[in-house]
Symmetry: D2
């Protein structure tokens, strides 16, 4: 059993991480922190955990983090960058579920996140935790930057096309739809049931923080400079709790490719990517609570526009599940350990 | 008061039509038909109408349709084409809310709707009832083909761009999201609450019947042949009752245009199109129950991709409300009469 | 046209009031106040009102309230009691949608609302604004206390039984279910979509503020002391925006009464109470956006337990609509003026 | 590994059973039948099972049921009674999730279910599968009648009160609320998203089939004749997929009892009943996907009305989960085996 810590346990990501780790046969959560809730039983806040765990929230200042084999940060952006260096120095490995270490360029980070990066010296060694791209580096990483939810769904959709250089990198469109849990558990008017249910809207069309993260990933996959990627990224809020659906459009630059076969081959050995049969329309509910990404590739009327549909659970493959997948890789466990959960349907 | 008939009153479109017409100061619904429900009080089926109307469903065979000034068909595709000719012959004007007269090409219709067109001689004179394009023809029309829900939202989004020849007609994308009422009131497993709520999915990516309708409309607007339009159209089902959100992408072929001003001017005198301020994200709930289409135009990072967001209530501006708007135009009433309903929010 | 003011326009009740008054043919809203939003266009906050009104929020300190014929308070509990006396002194009539003047006993008020009552001298003359009980007093009232949402649904369900002394006043149960809008537009974690959707729970079983209000009303109806009423009141939160469903249980103390006929007769002339046919189950959606209360009375297996089902829209008959109904009565308008809205369904 | 069969695999109950059994370490599903879907892959129908199982639906006539150690029937009422006798004769043990063997009185069954009982000779030996009452009999049972969803929630709420003879058996009220999945996966208009969401209503107030089942269970618990029980049972439909909330009212006939302590003691050793702390309000989402029943007992204002709140997942503890619990008891497995699933929240 490895000793695991969770810093920031009161948001949806932290709670989901705890749910997964409590059922993981090789992980023992020894501490979960919350400044606001310290001393309170975790199960009081998360009624689904009553009877499952007797953990209490620890003060972040006194939590036994340095005794852990691995610590997850499920904190707001800007927190992990302050605490990670001292943990790494003590040999504790870290997975950050926030955005602190996702962008390699500190200036770009500062621009998109509205604050200076306080730990830019770690950016070069931090590994972007998308196993379908970086599995080998993740194995050896001391610090993993867990990807954002939209970036996971969008990158997995575009990856095979870009790797195989089949599409125009200057004409990528990602039209994405997220359940409301992507906005977190903060008390905001905009995510009240009365505001967000029976409603559908776009947001952030003028610029969303996940845009540079996606571009960086696609550029790496295509082995091109980020300036060669032009992506139009439009996120929408859809009236449900969990799930992301990415509808990704690109222009083919070659003809005659068997896209279906290419996708199937590309993801053949990936335990958490399911390429569905020709003509499929993946549903977000089919991955609810599970770590799967399901993908279908379409080429309507055999024209030159490819449409890739990709669905994930934003809190699992888009956050906590992928983090556990990364942990499994880092600690040498089977990659699927503790993650073989079937979506509850209906 | 004009005498109005509704053929096919048991679906959502028929019910919405009835709700609007019962509140219309110049329309008197003299008959509403249903073979399955004939003799039954309308209010038994639609509990919101208890105390509002004492109408009963008439048998379609005995309904006094020829005494009407205008008859609406809210029937399944393929029904109106059988009954419309005899009504027109008697001088009764008709608005068909189904698809029977939307496409000008009978062969294309047969191909998309899976049955031969039985009344192709009327296709040339039927007027496509999108007032923002065809207002003058609607005035004089004997037969109006009321547009589909997606086609209304998508055409209103693309119209100004295409009229002003600003975009590449070979690179149009319409990523559309509809509430479940778009699928009608039939008992289907796929639209059960347990199947469609807490879920998001695309459908019909391989070809949706609204595609040729949209292309025909855009070609007319651009004064080009339909073959010059390449549109990728991806509809999605979103877990709510009412509302369509169209996210429309196109490539600018000119630079320096003030798109916002152009949209504002284009729709300046349109009573039911609201061009929102720069940076807006229209919400479907802001038009729920109302006949408005709200539109926002974006040009992210001033690049050459334009993103137009457009929302309507699929049962109002996307069906029954637009039909009443057409009736107002045909019968010489003020265009907004009976349609000045404010969306109920929250 | 009468001049109308709204104090506190940013909550759901204030917004609903504004929606109804903007469509009212005899009311002109001359001011709507908000300290937090002063100067801002109302339509910016309520996107459904874009194009419907150009009102801006006034500062509560500078709003021309004393020029109004009637002022509505849609403020938090405890606000109206501070401002009402000076308005009344100037001859302005007032309808308070909060709880300040609902209870006749200042001590009881202080106990349930956790603050001393600062205007107890007005409690005797304030009229409880349930037209179905107090229509005549409302006509002449200077100050009307608009009822709470649960109290409206529950009192209308029990009234005929209690008036006719048919039931045991010591064995009343009101099991009530409310949509989430009853909790208002404040940013609370508990009413986030992610917390409140796909969930059902009771709350306040240990004591809810609407309990003494209901008991006071039932005691008045039965002409007994409040101590003779024993009511068990259990509210629940149901995952939808609008609507209250009250399931009310009582024990018959007489036999052989024709309950259906008695309910029908009792409410025969009430414009906003619909007694449904024997065997009916009223649906909350049938009154969404409308001022109706629909009621069905059941006596399962002819035993001595009566079950009355009653539904309202909590923001209309349970708040703003009833307030407009009271205004109509006070100002001598037809009681239904501006309130003949049909619920939008589906 | 025991060999398990499922007859009737296409409804929600069958699918849930399959989900649970596929994760059960000692159960191997060797056949799942469906006449309509025979030959089709199960995962095509239940997209959450893609990659989890390669089972195909078997024809009910050819399925190897007699090779099974235990067969579950997840069929419509009236089916199991025809097939169970021959299986029992071959030594196969059976759990019926339908209602065929729940009532001991064949005449009462015929009256409530509208058809004659075709296998009344088995009613005496069939064991009602509520482990909290009948655990010992279940162990030895050849045929278990798995309880209905409402009956499970209501009986567990009333049981301690009735066992301890604390309440008036002539004044029991169960006000129950169910998610829509309780109505099954049949295509009915009433359970369409557009009909059932944003709506709340009672149904079956004049008599619901679960009423005699509950009364039979409570009579057994109280060791009284069923005629001594008077229960008013009002079910409601609430706009969510899963979950039952029972609000149960009864009149205390004794004073001074420590109800909380009594409930805690009563359920102390029950693995799937969680008595929550004083003042709690259990939420349906806290048991979604899990086999738990959470209960809170209230005595408002210390008066003589007891209010017991009880929540279950109707498809798990209310159906498939309880069936697996019964299987575990019958086959000698640890009772919690395969059922320690934490609810996914939010």
């Amino acid at each position: 059993m490895k000793k695991i810590g969770i810093v920031g346990g009161t948001g949806y990501t932290g709670a989901e991480l705890l749910r997964l780790l409590l059922a993981h046969p090789e992980a023992e959560v020894v501490t979960i922190t919350s400044r606001a809730e310290q001393g309170r039983e975790v199960a009081e806040r998360y009624p689904n955990l009553r009877g499952i765990t007797s953990l209490r929230f620890d003060s972040p200042d006194e939590a036994p983090l340095i005794d852990c084999d691995l610590v997850f940060f499920a904190t707001p952006n800007g927190v992990a960058m302050q605490q990670v260096p001292s943990l790494l120095a003590k040999g504790v490995r870290v997975i950050d579920l926030a955005a602190d270490f996702r962008l390699r360029d500190a200036e770009q980070w500062a621009e998109w996140y509205g604050q200076p990066h306080q730990c830019s010296e770690l950016l070069a060694s931090a590994v972007y935790g998308l196993p379908e791209i970086n599995r080998q580096s993740i194995k050896r990483a001391q610090l993993v930057a867990n990807p954002g939810c939209y970036p996971t769904a969008v990158q997995l959709a575009f990856l095979p096309l870009i790797k195989h250089k089949l599409v125009d990198l200057q004409a990528l469109i990602a039209d994405t739809k997220s359940g409301v849990s992507g906005a977190g558990r903060s008390a905001n008017v905009g995510t009240l049931l009365c505001e967000a249910s029976e409603n559908f809207k776009a947001y952030g069309v003028t610029g969303h923080r996940h845009l540079p993260e996606i571009i960086q990933g696609l550029a790496q996959a295509g082995q091109v400079d980020i300036k060669q990627i032009a992506l139009t990224f439009v996120p929408h809020l859809t009236p449900m709790i969990r799930g992301i659906h990415a509808t990704c459009y690109s222009k083919l630059t070659v003809t005659g490719a068997d896209l279906q076969e290419m996708f199937v081959q590309h993801y053949l050995n990936e335990p958490f990517v399911d390429v569905m049969p020709v003509g499929s329309h993946p549903e977000t509910r089919s991955v609810k609570g599970s770590n799967l990404c399901r993908i279908a590739v379409h080429q309507p009327f055999q024209k030159d526009t490819v449409v890739v549909l990709s669905v994930i659970d934003n809190l699992v493959k888009g956050a906590a599940g992928q983090a556990v997948q990364n942990m499994n890789i880092m600690l040498g466990f089977p990659e699927q350990l503790g993650l073989q959960v079937t979506a509850v349907l209906p």
